[in-house]
């Protein structure tokens, strides 16, 4: 077995041993969707949402929530802990670069978030009759870019905070606005025009719009995809620029 494969194997075992992390990433977004779906009026078409039901709109929102949970809430303390506890340092004295440990964690968090997204879509379809994404390729691209921004934002949080404690605090501070931007409280499509105009240019606002359009069957606006991609690129650059190995 190659060294990177061994790292990935060990880290997936460790990831599976974190029940709370798994709950928030994999279970919670679907749970939220189910709770909202239990409210009868949310299952009625609404004129404010262009004839869509609230539950229809919340499927992409919950998908985005899974990505944010993984990237912004779960990932940063793990990376920061590996740094603070000297695990990266120990690894850097072996032929394997400590970066492979970070990469494994990022891949695993992304995989868990993707699994969670599929679960949300499946439950939406089976339980609440929410149509599957009308434009799967556009949906997938928006999901990929949104996930990338979430993971990059989390990595940036780790990069700019010196300790695990600080990482957790800053992670939470970033987490709540991220949920707002994604439309967890008010879907981006239902936000007042001026607010939406701003939110659309922020990381998860743009991703939320893109996912929503792809869910409706259209190829997402290049503006939304572009804004999400630019944020992902900026955040990746920031994380790489400021990350400290010890």
């Amino acid at each position: 077995m190659s060294a990177s494969a061994a790292v990935l194997k060990a880290e997936s075992r460790l990831f599976a041993r974190e029940p709370f992390s798994l709950f928030w990433i994999v279970v919670f977004p679907t749970l939220l969707l189910v709770i909202l779906g239990l409210i009868p009026s949310f299952r009625e078409p609404s004129d404010d949402l262009g004839g869509n039901r609230v539950i229809d709109v919340y499927v992409p929102v919950s998908v985005l929530l899974a990505l944010i949970m993984a990237g912004v809430q779960a990932l940063p303390p793990v990376l920061s802990g590996y740094r603070e506890r000297g695990i990266l340092r120990r690894m850097s004295t072996t032929p394997v670069r400590p970066g492979s440990l970070l990469a494994a964690q990022i891949v695993l968090h992304f995989a868990a978030a993707t699994g969670s997204a599929l679960l949300v879509i499946a439950v939406g379809r089976l339980v609440f009759d929410v149509p599957l994404p009308g434009h799967p390729a556009g949906y997938l691209l928006a999901l990929l870019l949104g996930g990338l921004s979430a993971l990059a934002l989390g990595a940036t949080v780790t990069a700019v905070t010196p300790t695990t404690k600080a990482t957790t605090v800053v992670g939470s501070i970033v987490f709540f606005p991220s949920m707002f931007l994604a439309g967890v409280w008010v879907p981006v499509q239902a936000m007042p025009g001026a607010l939406r105009g701003v939110v659309e240019y922020l990381p998860f606002g743009a991703a939320s719009q893109a996912l929503n359009q792809a869910a409706g069957g259209d190829w997402p606006d290049w503006t939304h995809l572009g804004v999400t991609a630019v944020w992902a690129a900026l955040l990746i650059a920031a994380a790489v620029r400021w990350f400290r190995w010890e």
Binding site: V7, A10, R90
Partner: protein
């Protein structure tokens, strides 16, 4: 042939020199000790050897490799036990051993290592649940798992009980006998005296002395220790006049002198002359402890 070469090594933090013009060479197949009080720059020096720190000046070579630039090749031949590091909390001992074996092209048999380090019963235990001594033994195993040519052990037996410490010493001697060069950072004198072929004594970032343990003891002026309970008090003037006496100490009526063979003879004739009986007379060789204290004491104070 020297396998580790350090010449003119300097490293400062915030303008304060921590390692200041340190040079030493470690011969292939020896156990080389680095001894010194806390803050003497021992760990910083070996971290430059491991390639974890960039020296401000000086040359470091391990088997001819430059630790920072030739990292890839260095990590393949250098095993490391760090003073402070941990593993993933929920990784079991077996998983850790398997994981680290996978990092090296020709790893040692991890089962054998686990057996020699008394970890067999702990294979299924997660790192976070191990005691300090068990963690330490696991780290020793991980330092040896890649079949290194050189192994750096920083505070090898800290946290081990006396029995585990002795077992670990035997293991390290076996490792050396198998041809591995050992660079050992320690502040246990007994450990240094028992294991090391040669020792560099660090003091304030510099090498204060470099010799075999026996050489260090011989070098220190008070190589012979004489102690006794005189039947009646001795005159201070008489004691101070003894030849080669480095230090004279009276405590609870017991006199302790550091000196040489000449001092021993002079003490005996002095006692005879004054007709004083010496109870519990002991003459012993100074230990590495004594030599260490003398080498690292601050004369300025």
């Amino acid at each position: 042939m020297s396998i580790v070469e350090v010449r003119g090594l300097r490293k400062a933090y915030g303008g304060r020199p921590v390692v200041d013009d340190v040079s030493f060479e470690v011969e292939e197949g020896e156990i080389f000790g680095i001894l010194g009080p806390n803050g003497a720059g021992k760990t910083t020096a070996v971290e430059c050897v491991e390639g974890l720190r960039v020296p401000d000046a000086g040359v470091v070579r391990v088997a001819g490799l430059e630790p920072r630039r030739e990292r890839e090749r260095l990590t393949g031949i250098l095993g490391v036990q760090l003073q402070e590091s941990e593993l993933q909390e929920k990784l079991s001992v077996r998983e850790a051993l398997e994981l680290y074996s996978a990092f090296y092209p020709e790893p040692a048999d991890w089962r054998g290592l686990a057996e020699r380090l008394g970890l067999v019963e702990k294979l299924g235990t997660r790192f976070g649940r191990l005691s300090g001594g068990q963690k330490q033994r696991l780290f020793i195993a991980l330092a040896l798992i890649g079949n290194p040519r050189v192994v750096v052990l920083d505070e090898l037996t800290t946290g081990l009980d006396p029995r585990a410490r002795r077992d670990t010493w035997t293991l390290i001697e076996e490792v050396r006998d198998a041809g591995v060069t050992v660079l050992l950072v320690t502040h246990f004198m007994e450990e240094a005296q028992r294991l090391c072929d040669r020792i560099a004594v660090f003091k304030r970032g510099r090498v204060a002395a470099l010799d075999t343990p026996a050489g260090l003891i011989r070098r220190s002026a008070g190589g012979t220790v004489i102690s006794f309970d005189p039947s009646r008090p001795l005159d201070d003037g008489d004691l101070d006049a003894l030849p080669d006496a480095q230090s004279v100490e009276s405590r609870n009526g017991r006199v302790t002198l550091h000196g040489t063979d000449a001092t021993v003879n002079a003490v005996i004739s002095l006692l005879a002359r004054r007709q004083i009986t010496a109870h519990q007379l002991r003459v012993s060789d100074a230990t590495l402890d004594d030599a260490f204290l003398e080498l690292t004491e601050d004369r300025e104070n």
